[in-house]
């Protein structure tokens, strides 16, 4: 069992008919909120997002390709159960707001890692741009957690991530045309560029869906409003990251890239996981993904009559670094907090589009939840109520 990827096509993985589950293992023992490392939870949330996007992509593909419906349904069934087993690792003592803080930690630490290994400068800039917004969401949600539940966000973050303002959430709201980005060119882009775009889009998509689901479960009117506000930004982020991909890719090409991304991210998880029980799960699912990947390659040859190597050429970089990216985030924050978007371009604050300014001023006219919740908020160990800190 290897956790490196010298050659994706060499390893056949677990055949689909051997990818079996029971309800008991899918709803198995969760991780410990208190004792497991924060990055174990980061990986759990990330892979849940990856699997949910795997299902999403395949459902859309099935709507357009009758001939692929059966194999897509077959792969989706395994992925549904993988996703369940992964997501059910989150223990019930996480309040929805604590899980939210963990989601933002995923967005920050994984996007920062990706931004540093992304070879395409424009794509890397896009990751840094989005990163500063998720970084700000973490600050607003941390204030909410403290001021609503009386809990310290750092119990979740475990010291890896700073809790300070980024680009203010009140300024994230842009006209839709300013959320679109330039896409990579499928014939010239590096494989890792394609993988990054698929990965971060999937991660943001699940964050959006999570906020949309749990937002209305809050009683507190400010929390409800905050989730409404930030869920809207996450939808913008899905628009942004989704537009990084080349729209001229065929569905099969996108499927191949997605499977390669899944292999790469599971391999990254398996390589760095400290909890042996969870590591075994990552290794098992890495083998499952290789099975999916190989099936997709066979179907690609059959239906498109092309060599998958056309899509998947190029080396993969080192695995995704699941570690604190504090220094990179701070540097990005210092240099790029005032960047704004105008169409597909990044511009200075003064050159932001009139469309976005008007859009924002209308939305914010009755107040901004992110500001109401975080007014004067300074994080301290043990919450802002801890006068000793």
């Amino acid at each position: 069992m290897t956790t490196t990827l010298p050659n994706l096509l060499d390893n056949k993985g677990t055949p689909l008919d051997k990818q079996l589950f029971t309800w008991k293992e899918m709803a198995g023992k969760p991780i410990s909120k208190l004792d497991d490392d924060a990055f174990t939870r980061v990986r759990v949330i990330l892979m849940n997002g990856v699997e949910s996007d795997a299902l999403r992509l395949k459902h859309f593909g099935a709507r357009f390709h009758k001939e692929l419906q059966a194999p897509l349904a077959l792969v989706r069934r395994a992925e549904q159960h993988q996703m369940t087993m992964v997501n059910w690792m989150l223990s019930a003592d996480h309040s929805p707001l604590e899980t939210t803080v963990a989601y933002e930690q995923v967005a920050i630490e994984v996007t920062a890692a990706v931004a540093q290994t992304e070879p395409d400068p424009y794509q890397a800039q896009t990751y840094r741009f989005g990163l500063l917004e998720d970084f700000d969401h973490l600050y607003r949600y941390s204030a909410m957690l403290d001021r609503l539940e009386g809990k310290d966000a750092n119990n979740i973050l475990q010291g890896y991530t700073d809790i300070v303002p980024g680009r203010p959430t009140s300024e994230h709201h842009r006209a839709p045309s300013d959320d679109l980005r330039d896409n990579y060119q499928k014939d010239s882009a590096a494989l890792i560029t394609k993988i990054h775009a698929a990965l971060i889009t999937g991660a943001e998509y699940q964050t959006h869906d999570y906020y949309m689901n749990i937002g209305p479960t809050f009683a507190d009117p400010v929390a409800r409003a905050l989730y409404a506000e930030i869920a809207s930004v996450e939808e913008q982020h899905v628009t942004q990251y989704g537009s990084l991909q080349d729209p001229s890719e065929t569905f099969m090409e996108k499927w191949l890239v997605h499977e390669a991304m899944e292999v790469y991210t599971y391999a990254s998880c398996a390589e760095q996981e400290e909890n042996p029980r969870i590591k075994a799960m990552w290794e098992r699912f890495l083998d499952y993904e290789l099975g999916h990947f190989n099936l997709a390659c066979e179907l690609f040859k059959k239906h498109e009559r092309r060599d998958p190597a056309e899509i998947l050429s190029g080396d993969l970089p080192t695995m995704i670094a699941f570690k604190s990216q504090r220094d990179f985030v701070r540097e990005t924050l210092s240099r790029e907090v005032d960047l704004r978007a105008h169409g597909i371009d990044y511009v200075s604050k003064e050159n932001e589009s009139r469309a976005s300014l008007e859009y924002r001023s209308q939305l914010n006219v009755d107040g901004v939840p992110a500001m109401a919740v975080s007014a004067g908020y300074t994080w301290k160990p043990g919450t802002e109520l801890n006068r000793k800190a």
């Binding site: 208190l34 019930a92 700073d162």
Partner: protein, 241 residues
């Protein structure tokens, strides 16, 4: 039992687990301070405004039987506002019904978790049987007043929201017997006060016979509280002795 239910271990949540990181986090708060002036008051003001604008969670259901409608109309004429009693009776019914389920979870915990024992499980079963009797008692009282015991009144709804935390604690396979007894204690503490208040409300509404039946339930609830208190005390003291 003379060993603690929980052990020392690698709990990673505290600042002392990573003092260097904590120092960097504090440094960040100095480098990148709060960007919105004012303080948490804005949050409270937003809540205040929302309270002013809010609807209630819902209404007390109109009694379904003609007899009940007449009765509530008569009570209203006397200025008794029977909907208050109907709502609180609905709450009690929901609370006792959920209570039976909470004891389902607690009995399993007492039977299976370290620190539990069959004697404790049997004691809990007795309490559970009485909670079920109380539920029946309240159901009967609601029917006597012509109201609908299958409806969810506003106070019943809110009681359900309140119980979700206790339910999560009791049904989590990882929680200990003492953690669960502690959760049950909050239920029994409330239950005692609630029955007392309900008896007074029932009498005040002119239903002395129902109030008299409720008195017996209150006496049993006092015993439940005392048992749960003692069990929790004994469990924790055994852990440190």
């Amino acid at each position: 039992m003379n060993t603690p239910e929980l052990k020392l271990g690698m709990n990673r949540t505290g600042a002392q687990m990573s003092p260097l990181d904590t120092e960097k986090q504090l440094e960040a708060t100095r480098l990148f301070p709060a960007d919105v002036t004012a303080d948490g008051v804005q949050l409270l003001e937003e809540r205040q405004q929302a309270i002013i604008d809010a609807d209630t969670v819902g209404s007390v259901p109109v009694p379904g039987s003609v007899k009940g409608m007449l009765k509530s109309a008569l009570d209203k004429l006397r200025g008794n506002h029977p909907e208050v009693l109907v709502d609180k009776l609905g709450e009690r019914l929901a609370f006792e019904r959920t209570g039976v389920r909470l004891y389902d979870a607690m009995i399993v915990k007492a039977s299976a978790a370290p620190g539990g024992n069959l004697e404790l499980a049997e004691t809990l079963r007795q309490i559970q049987r009485e909670e079920l009797e109380h539920m029946e008692l309240v159901r009967h009282a609601i029917e006597t007043l012509g109201a609908d015991p299958t409806s969810m009144t506003p106070c019943a709804d809110v009681a359900g929201v309140k119980a979700t935390g206790v339910l999560q604690v009791l049904t989590d396979p990882r929680t200990t017997v003492s953690q669960c007894l502690n959760a049950l204690l909050t239920i029994e503490l409330e239950d005692n006060d609630a029955w007392e208040l309900l008896i007074e409300l029932t009498r005040h509404a002119g239903h002395p016979l129902i109030a008299k039946e409720f008195q017996h339930a209150l006496e049993q609830e006092e015993k439940h509280l005392s048992i749960v208190r003692e069990q929790l005390h004994a469990n924790l003291m055994a852990q440190v002795s």
